[in-house]
Amino acid sequence: MKLTKVVISGFGGQGIMMMGYALANAVMKDGHQVTLLPAYGAEVRGGSANCTIAISDDEIASPVASAPEFIVVMSTPAFLRFQNYLKSGGTLILNSSLIEGETIREDIKVIPVPAGKWALELGDLRMANCVMLGAFARLTGLVTLKSLEEALVSLFPARKAKLLELNQRALRFGYQTIEKEEK
């Protein structure tokens, strides 16, 4: 795979770091090189959360993305801030259940995913991040659904098997729903 950078952003509590960790872990399981860089310290105080994932089959020089190919935004502030960073021709995937307004950019592709709405259909709004991640896998082809499901295993202790199962279901739901819409 050619070097591809992804930024995931939203606000604290939306499970942004979990998305990043699961994605990076899954990419590793798929056999690619990967780096994951969270925003840290004072930058994340005050509610915003974001992380950068770099994927490649070659050594990755910098874990930082100045112009990522893909941006996933889960909240309006994240949308307003990060749309400007996206590489020309890049793809912005946004949580349309929460984000209103249109992008000012004409050189990018915007894909709305009603992650919040779909999570509610599954019965739990907290699953929005995994729904989005499943949709992301289908939309970008950067990562396999199987590896994502496996990656979640390392995030939940054995006593939280039920929650793990729920999150894995959300991944599949996001992936399959987007797939259906495409057809």
């Binding site: 960790y21 399981k29 056999g31 690619h32 050594e59 990755i60 020089a61 100045s66």
Partner: protein, 362 residues
């Protein structure tokens, strides 16, 4: 596709903590400071579960390094970690550790300075780490990883070198390297013979009492002690210089960079190579002892060196000293604690240097 079967995704800070514990370091003393808090958090979780494990959150970095001193005096493996301002506070203890010849590992996940600076990554503590840092005529082995895997590997090496040469070893991490995650293979460093710790304080049962002292008032004895330390440092300089050479075979311009800057520079070199520019890189892995011979040797076929750092120029002094005027040196750096340069930016700088300094003279 490469195999990832035996790899785990770890942040640099977790990799460092994990490697320390696997190296038999079951004692940790530290004080919170960003961007390395994941290390004490990990240690506080895991060390108390070990039969011989000990963790103390010290009241200050000053206390932390002295707890390290006490634990090291017993001959057990011990570590502390911090970031720039905290490492400044530890310098008193590091000087004593060097004087008393006590092995320990100190990791500095460098952040922007001077003063409180900020928590963004930086390379501005190069002088502090490689010139001794505290008072007195001493040196500390300083290892600078550039990937999370290398943090894992060099941490194990650091414990080995600390025991081998009886002294503090510094891991010069960086905020960025500590925070980022990468796949890591949890491989073990080959275990080699180490000298017995016949100086350790364990209670003097069945033997005369031992003393560890750095106050040496007898005439001529301090001088002798310093000569002894110096012989050790010379031995380290002879045996422990480490560097990586990247595409230097046909290079006419050599980048010299370490740590995070080296990995970004590597990306930049790949770009300019595609345009046909013959550029290579020497990456110091041990900042002290500095791999001066590797650089001097490169000067036999390279006329120009470009030093790149995330500081306003510290390692460049070592590069110049290594070259002894045999080649021209230029510098590109930005102060730490600011924006992190990207491969495109480095690529432009390398190209410019190449066309101004190398191509024109050939």
């Amino acid at each position: 596709m490469k195999s990832s079967a035996n790899k785990v995704l770890l942040s640099g800070n977790h990799a460092l903590a994990e490697a320390a514990i696997r190296s038999g370091c079951h004692l940790y003393f530290g004080y919170p400071i960003t961007p390395q808090n994941e290390i004490p958090e990990f240690m506080s979780e895991h060390l108390p579960k070990l039969k011989d494990g000990g963790f103390v959150q010290a009241e200050s970095e000053l206390a932390a390094i002295n707890m390290v001193l006490g634990a090291a005096a017993t001959g057990r493996r011990v570590m502390t970690t911090s970031s720039s301002p905290g490492i400044s506070l530890m310098q008193e203890g590091i000087s004593y550790l060097a004087a008393l010849e006590l092995p320990c590992v100190i990791a500095n996940m460098v952040r922007g300075g001077p003063g409180l600076g900020n928590i963004v990554t930086s390379q501005s503590d190069y002088f502090q780490s490689t010139r001794g840092g505290g008072h007195g005529d001493y040196r500390t082995i300083t290892l600078a990883p550039c990937t999370v895997q290398e943090i894992y590997d060099l941490t194990q090496l650091a414990f080995y070198l600390a025991d081998k040469y009886r002294g503090p070893v510094i891991i010069q991490g960086e905020g960025l390297l500590g925070q980022m995650s990468e796949p890591v293979e949890l491989r073990e460093l080959e275990k080699k013979d180490l000298p017995p710790k016949d100086w350790a304080l364990t209670g003097a049962k069945g033997r005369p009492g031992r003393m560890l002292r750095s106050l040496i008032l007898e005439e001529g004895v301090l001088e002798e002690h310093n000569w002894k330390l110096n012989r050790k440092y010379k031995e380290i300089e002879k045996r422990e210089k480490r560097s990586e050479s990247y595409r230097m075979d046909d290079a006419s311009l050599a980048v010299v960079a370490y740590g995070s800057v080296a990995r970004i520079a590597k990306g930049a070199i790949k770009r300019v190579r595609e345009e046909g520019l013959k550029v290579g890189m020497i990456r110091p892995i041990s900042l002290w002892p500095f791999p001066d011979e590797a650089i001097r040797k490169a000067a036999e076929h390279v006329s120009h060196f470009l030093v790149m750092e995330l500081s306003c120029g510290q390692m460049i002094e070592d590069v110049r000293m290594a070259l002894e005027g045999k080649a021209e040196v230029s510098f590109y750096g930005r102060p730490g604690g600011g924006a992190i340069p990207n491969p495109a930016e480095f690529g432009r700088v390398i190209s410019r240097n190449y066309y101004q300094k190398v191509r024109k003279t050939r």
